[in-house]
Amino acid sequence: MLEQFTSIGIFIFVGLGFAVSSLLVAWIVRPKRPNPLKMSTYECGLETRGRTWIQFKVSYFLYALVFLVFDVEVVFLIPWAVEFLKLPWIAFIEMFIFIGILVVGLWYVWKEGALEWK
């Protein structure tokens, strides 16, 4: 038991050491010529124009939810597909009921117009 943790411990220390030493070497070697632009906090992307506290379109959220549902469907489908031959026939029907429920959901989303970008 403990031996297994030793290897994890060594792994952590080597990993930490690698990161710290490379940062340290870079800090020693690199030229130091600070200017205001360099000192400013880095943020990715372009600089914002106007106020950032704007309202987002709720459709983003709807898309994310629909995406998530079908993502989870795949999570269920993969183990089912892998073990398919060993499963009793009822598992086949159960999966179709599951997909059927999701299809009804998709139908609903479609009809309610959540898939259109308005």
Binding site: L87, P88, I90, E94, I101, V104, W107, Y108
Partner: protein, 482 residues
């Protein structure tokens, strides 16, 4: 493993799920102006499922190693939810007709919330239990904020989401601590693991988290803050459903976890339950007095009723559980009855202020009489059903020697008589406002109200059949009276 499930035991759940999905599909096929008819279909479907539950009389089976339990206790509560759902569906018909959008979804969500409650009371295992709880609460999030153009409804929805999410997090944390210490999520195995050992500090923390998590759902003081605001903002039928069925469901799960799972530690958590019960009864009743909005008044009254219900758990006996079962059924009819009057009045006047109930007796005698009997039953005045329900609860705690607790409960019932009678006074003694006509009540609502009224009176005078049933169910569920 899958072949080992006896699907016939799950008929009620499968039918409910099919009904919910079917309503959704019908809603997609039927053109918009005819969708409000799905309400009648929902009532029929739920009635059918209620008939199916009759075939479960005395069935006591567990499957998948105790993950899911079909016992008289669960079946009793399933019937309660179905009855509540039917009454709520009937009382939401006028609301949905006026709504003008997503009519079918409303009923579909109502059915799914009911399904969540069923899973919650039948779960013999912590994860299944959580699943049922979330199915119920997520359906309620949408139902609470169904009036999407009404600011108060949206506010209620947001408050409910945030506070429910927090309470769910607490509950999950508690569940994970319990799992961590017992290495099992099955409630019966938790009990046998705990019976051997002594109380560990982490276990105490887990129990406290569970108590807090369930406290939110049952709206016990000090976890009740969400209740008045959410009850006020939600569509009135949903308020009734939230106050009655979701509370009963969470209470049933609470009873199952604590009485079956943690009987070894009862001396620890019963003290906490007593504290919560006293706080809930006192605060719920006292804060109800100055309310001017009928929905807030009923919200506080339902908080205080939860305090009385806890007495049954404090008793820690089959008598106590029987009293909880009996009281919950009566609570369904009295509370939904009162809310039905609120629905009927607000569809014609659009107001929830108590002062707008003035002279209700002249304008709509039926509404006033139903409200009168519901309020008196909630207050626990004989010979109405609420009196018998409270009597059983008080006897159960007195049997265990908590006489002071019973006295306090009686005292608080006296206080509640005061604020209930304030409403009655407005309805019967004040003059109706000028230019107010007679209020028309839809037929379905009238039938449901009269049905509740008759039950409140009959069960008050002749409670024996129901109390026998409740006691026998309680006895098979928890055969101890130590």
């Amino acid at each position: 493993m899958i072949a080992g499930i006896d699907f016939s035991l799950l008929t009620v759940e499968i039918f409910t799920a099919a009904l919910g999905l079917g309503l959704l599909i019908i809603n997609l096929i039927v053109p918009g102006n005819q969708r409000s008819a799905t309400g009648y279909l929902t009532v029929l479907g739920l009635l059918g499922i209620l008939l199916v539950t009759l075939s479960y009389e005395g069935v006591e089976k567990t499957f998948m190693d105790g993950m899911y339990i079909i016992d008289p206790f669960a079946t009793f509560f399933k019937r309660l939810f179905l009855v509540a759902a039917i009454l709520v569906t009937i009382s939401s018909l006028p609301f949905v007709k006026k709504l003008g959008y997503n009519e079918g979804d409303f009923f579909s969500l109502l059915v799914f919330a009911t399904l969540g409650m069923m899973v919650l009371v039948s779960a013999g295992e912590l994860i299944t239990l959580y699943l049922g709880l979330e199915l119920m609460t997520i359906s309620f999030y949408i139902l609470v904020s169904f009036k999407k153009k009404d600011a108060k409804s949206c506010e209620a929805g947001i408050k409910y989401i945030i506070l429910s999410a927090m309470s769910s997090a607490l509950l999950l944390y508690g569940l994970s601590l319990v799992y961590g210490l017992t290495k099992t999520t099955i409630i019966e195995q938790i009990a046998s693991t705990l019976a051997a050992g002594t109380m560990q500090p982490l276990m105490a923390l887990g129990i406290i988290f569970l108590l807090a998590g369930f406290g939110f759902k049952i709206s016990l003081v000090p976890f009740h803050m969400w209740a008045p605001d959410v009850y006020e903002g939600a569509p009135t039928p949903i308020t009734a459903f939230l106050a009655v069925a979701s509370k009963a469901a969470a209470l049933a799960a609470f009873v199952r976890i604590f009485l079956i799972g943690f009987p070894a530690y009862q001396e620890y958590w019963i003290t906490l339950v007593i504290v919560l019960s006293v706080l809930t009864m006192v605060l719920g009743n006292l804060v109800a007095i100055p309310q001017t909005n009928i929905k807030r008044l009923l919200a506080y009254s339902s908080i205080s009723q939860a305090g009385y219900l806890l007495l049954g758990i404090v008793a820690f006996s089959s008598m106590g559980i029987g009293a909880i079962l009996f009281f919950s059924i009566i609570y369904v009819f009295t509370n939904v009855g009162a809310f039905m009057v609120v629905v009927a009045l607000s569809t014609s006047t659009g107001s929830h202020k108590i002062e707008d109930y003035s002279g209700l007796y002249r304008r709509a005698p039926l509404l006033a009489v139903v409200m009168l009997f519901c309020l008196l039953s909630l207050a626990g005045l004989p010979p109405l059903a609420g009196f018998v329900g409270k009597l059983y609860l008080f006897i159960a705690v007195i049997e265990k020697g908590y006489i002071w607790l019973a006295l306090l409960a009686v005292l608080m019932s006296m206080v509640s008589v005061y604020y209930y009678l304030l409403v009655v006074k407005v309805m019967f003694l004040k003059e109706p406002p000028q230019n107010s006509g007679i209020i028309k009540v839809p037929n379905g609502l009238q039938i449901a109200m009269v049905f509740s009224l008759i039950l409140i009176i009959v069960l008050g005078i002749y409670p024996k059949p129901l109390s026998d049933l409740a006691m026998s169910v309680a006895h098979t569920f928890f055969p101890f009276s130590f």
